[in-house]
Symmetry: C2
Subunit: 352 residues, 2 copies
């Protein structure tokens, strides 16, 4: 099942651009025969590669621009001066209906600022959130917000729950996702006022497209206790990076251990295929793609340092989201949710 | 260098008490010949073991009580009804000068509540924090607060920095610890108002017994970028548990990988000594001991499910803290710090 869709690409964003962008498309286009790609960037660097590959040429189109947003550009600078940049033109393509979604491995702050200004947020959503899938004991779990909203209130956590559930539906294929609120304990009385108030709203809501599990703790992310873990951008960002740090530390310690003796080196050689499978299972490239949820358009941020494998993963997330109409689904859910939690509108008083 | 000290033990707290308490003492008493232990608990269960071991009998003294705080007791219940409990009597021993510190593997909330009421906080410190050491690429890093203070302001983060630095001094042996504030980015403009204000105070302070590094991110914990990572109890608790979750996930995936084939099983056998070293390096038992800092007394909370190895680690933390006079050091630092950040007291206006 692969509906026709067009993805706009910031072909110049990322440390290995545009090579990893083209190689990323090459990795997946056979699996998504109806997907088309509009590449915004330097045609002098893009054209020769397309000319050399009839397969790529058949699914890609180049829109030339010389301008590029760098990682040093502040979001405000990017907004003011980057109107002809590859990133901005790719976002514009979504706003103008020429593309169904955009993928960029460029400057995160600039991509968020431009997406907010150009695409705007959906009705009922104050701020976009960044979501991503994490590997767990039971498959994958979506966590949001990962850093877009440093200070946020209970109402934002509730919005993240609705958005995250829809993302889990499309990307993880969960029919009715289970959503948990990240806290320091699972009992109702635990936590700060913000998470308590958000939990109360979610418990009281009657017409949700997901099941609210209640509170979860930090280790529930890796356990896969729920499909979606909701938290503010400060805590989510720290949890994400602390997890990455521990994963790297353990990999380093493991490598050092195998080098300890001749026997352990031999053991490593024998177990290598198994250890490669272990590494692949946690390979961050397969979890590449921070999705900006809450906008009127699909926006996927690939890690800046990724390669073709990682960029391909980000492309597939965008294609899945378009195919599953995530944006329309979030909008509908929000409408329904707003009606379920608001009291019936009072009839206007009749003035004599 | 091992000064005389007495540690009061809640001998009945923890899943494996009192056995792991006695076995824990047996593991370390030879390394700390001048340490003495006052065991509060059921003498019918403690006495036979002491009678069987002349070595233990020489360093232990039993103070009998039948009462025990269970894990189901709320802190308020424990305060009201637990005055004769093994936990409470052990804390009382510190308050009355009969012991230099207390170690318990019992109910965390009850231990914190009783410690606050009985021992009280040091002048200038509003709330105790829970600190613990984490394994890192460069040794160990102290992180606090791990969950005692869910909502806290900039002034509390500053207090945690002073307390954490003293703990790192005594337990990690850092002469002048490097302290970082946990944030979502390292640039000065990043983060919420709370961390920005705390950073400003720490940057402005001139007479600190530690060096302020500035902001650190979640992955800096495992990297060992600084000796002490300061954060609020909500974020710290989530970071700790998320890290534990990832460590468990990777261990599970690794075990599954080694079972994949005959070759990988053989590889495991050859590399087993090396893998045991890897496991030991991350063994949570060696990082057992959440320290309650900011009280007028040394209080160490051992993990409830730990065994003799883990309980011994908690005992050694308490002994190190007593030997290094951490409480007095924190009190002095606080006095000095308070003077360095306050403006000079204004002379009283002379009234004619």
């Amino acid at each position: 099942m692969s509906a026709r869709c067009t993805i706009a690409l910031d072909a110049m964003g990322g440390d290995n651009a545009p090579q990893m962008v083209l190689d990323g498309i090459a990795r997946i286009h056979a699996r998504h025969p109806h997907a088309r790609f509009r590449l915004f960037g330097d045609q002098a660097r893009l054209r020769p590669q397309l000319d050399a590959s009839p397969e790529l040429r058949a699914v890609c189109e180049i829109v030339h621009t010389d301008e590029v947003i760098t990682n040093d550009d502040k979001p405000s600078q990017a907004l003011r001066k980057g109107r002809q940049s590859s990133m901005r033109l790719a976002i514009d393509a979504v706003a103008e209906g020429e593309a169904d979604g955009v993928v960029s491995a460029g400057n995160t702050g600039a991509l968020m600022a431009m997406s907010k200004v150009v695409l705007r947020t959906l009705p009922g959503i104050d701020r976009p959130a960044i979501a991503s899938a994490f590997p767990t004991e039971r498959g994958e779990t979506v966590v949001l917000d990962l850093g877009a909203n440093i200070d946020c209130g209970a109402e934002h956590l509730v919005q993240f729950a609705v958005m995250g559930a829809n993302f889990a539906h499309s990307v993880l294929g969960r029919a009715r996702p289970l959503v948990g609120l990240l806290n320091v304990g699972v009992e109702e009385m635990k936590g700060n006022e913000k998470v308590k108030a958000a939990a109360e709203t979610l418990r009281a809501a009657t017409d949700l497209a997901f099941d609210f599990h209640g509170f979860v703790e930090g280790d529930d992310i890796a356990k896969g206790t729920v499909d979606v873990v909701v938290t503010d951008g400060f805590t989510g960002n720290v949890a994400l990076k602390a997890s990455e740090g521990v994963a790297r530390l353990m990999t380093t310690f493991l490598r050092i251990s195998f080098r300890r003796s001749l026997m352990s080196k031999l053991g490593y050689l024998l177990a290598r295929p198994a250890l490669n499978a272990f590494r692949e299972r946690l390979d961050p490239r397969y979890y590449n793609g921070g999705v900006f949820l809450g906008l009127k358009g699909v926006v996927v941020k690939s890690h800046g340092g990724t390669d073709a494998v990682g960029f391909a993963a980000a492309l597939e997330i965008a294609i899945d989201m378009v195919r599953d109409r995530v944006i329309e689904r979030i909008a509908v859910d929000f409408q329904r949710f707003a009606e379920s939690v608001s009291p019936d509108p009072q009839p206007a008083p009749v003035t004599p």
